[in-house]
């Protein structure tokens, strides 16, 4: 498979290195989000935007290298799609950081956010774990290692996030002391939760895509 994909070319090796860098940036962004929520830090939220910009420039480089002629033509769109799926995770994290800044600066930070803080931290931690496995999964594509096991682990973690999401929504709806007094506060909270739980969905999609790519190359 390795030979089929790489063909021993320099461009291919360069593209793979850049994709690995791209995935590491994703991992750094999930870690940054987790730390932001842990430290409840306003300033730290900006690290996600910085990493997103870094990832954006990496994405352009990768697509450029691919269209310069790296990889067999039928693999090129698949790799570009993979990169574009991952890009959505950055978008969700950016929204998450954006809304979190509003939460920190509003009345939502009191009882409303504190009521679901534990669940948010659990989800942020699982996002980091999923990213670490996705990196291993991408490496497995080239080393002929087992992608299937990694894909299963990612599915298990995604299922956990889904369960926490239900707990979290139930908690928000049943909280009598939480005060969401107007439309915008409700929207901030809703967008924050939606974005936070969507990261794992995207990572699962990316993992499924890698798995299919692996199958198609056999």
């Amino acid at each position: 498979m390795l030979e089929k994909l790489l063909g021993g070319g320099k461009l291919e090796k360069k593209a793979i290195t850049k994709i690995q860098e791209y995935l590491k940036t994703l991992c750094a962004a999930t870690e940054c989000l987790k730390e932001t929520l842990l430290q409840e830090s306003f300033e730290q939220t900006y690290c996600i935007e910085n990493l997103e910009r870094e990832a954006d420039s990496l994405k352009r480089e990768i697509i450029g290298i691919i269209y310069e002629g790296a990889f067999l033509p039928y693999i090129r769109p698949n790799l570009c799609n993979f990169i574009e799926i991952i890009e959505k995770a950055f978008d969700h994290m950016k929204v998450c950081a954006f809304e979190y800044r509003y939460i920190l600066n509003s009345d939502l930070y009191g009882l409303t956010y504190k009521n679901i803080e534990e669940e948010c931290l659990r989800i942020a931690h699982i996002n980091v774990e999923m990213c670490q496995i996705l990196i291993k999964s991408f490496e497995a594509l080239w080393t002929k290692d087992n992608i299937r096991e990694r894909n299963l682990a990612i599915r298990i973690l995604e299922k956990k996030v889904d369960e926490i999401k239900l707990e979290l929504i139930e908690k928000i709806r049943n909280c009598n002391l939480c005060k969401i007094t107007n439309y915008w506060e409700g929207k901030i909270m809703s967008d924050f939760v939606d974005a936070l739980v969507s990261v794992s969905d995207v990572i699962e999609d990316a993992s499924d895509y890698l798995y299919l790519l692996d199958l198609s190359l056999r």
Binding site: E129, Q132, I133, K136, S137, E149, R150, L152, A153, I154, I156, L157, K160, E163, E167
Partner: protein, 133 residues
């Protein structure tokens, strides 16, 4: 594996009163898509119990008893096996194996039940740790 109970336990505990009917438990198990319920003690002298799908099938349905008439307290397994939150995963597996049970409850320093570790939690943990290697 290096992990302890609190790292992998499931904190979502569904409880049921010992006076509830088996049918109430069946409804809860189906609605929540879970396999067991923690049975609350009737009083200070009583202990926690657990009612599982297995209990319901073999102690009620297989005997053609009416689940509306049987109380949970009559079929629950008691007492439940508990370990502290710092118990290593290996020890939990040993307990599960030697007692032939599918779940172990986790207690805090005040002996209050705060979570549960089931076969699925162990399986998930093993698969996730392997995938990270």
């Amino acid at each position: 594996m290096g992990k302890v109970a609190k790292d992998i336990m499931n904190k979502k505990l569904e409880t049921i009163s010992a006076d509830a009917t088996v049918y109430d438990a069946i409804e809860r198990l189906i609605d929540k898509r879970i396999r067991s319920l923690l049975v609350l003690p009737k009083n200070h002298d009583d202990s926690y119990g657990v009612v599982t799908v297995r209990n319901i099938i073999f102690k009620v349905l297989a005997k053609n008893l009416d689940p509306h008439k049987i109380k949970i307290g009559d079929i629950a397994s008691k007492p439940v096996l508990c370990v502290s939150q710092d118990t290593p995963l290996e020890k939990i597996l040993e307990i599960m194996n030697s007692h032939n049970i599918a779940r172990v409850f986790i207690t805090d320093e005040n002996k209050k039940i705060i979570g549960v570790v089931s076969f699925f939690d162990v399986l998930y943990n093993v698969l996730i740790e392997q995938a990270k290697k």
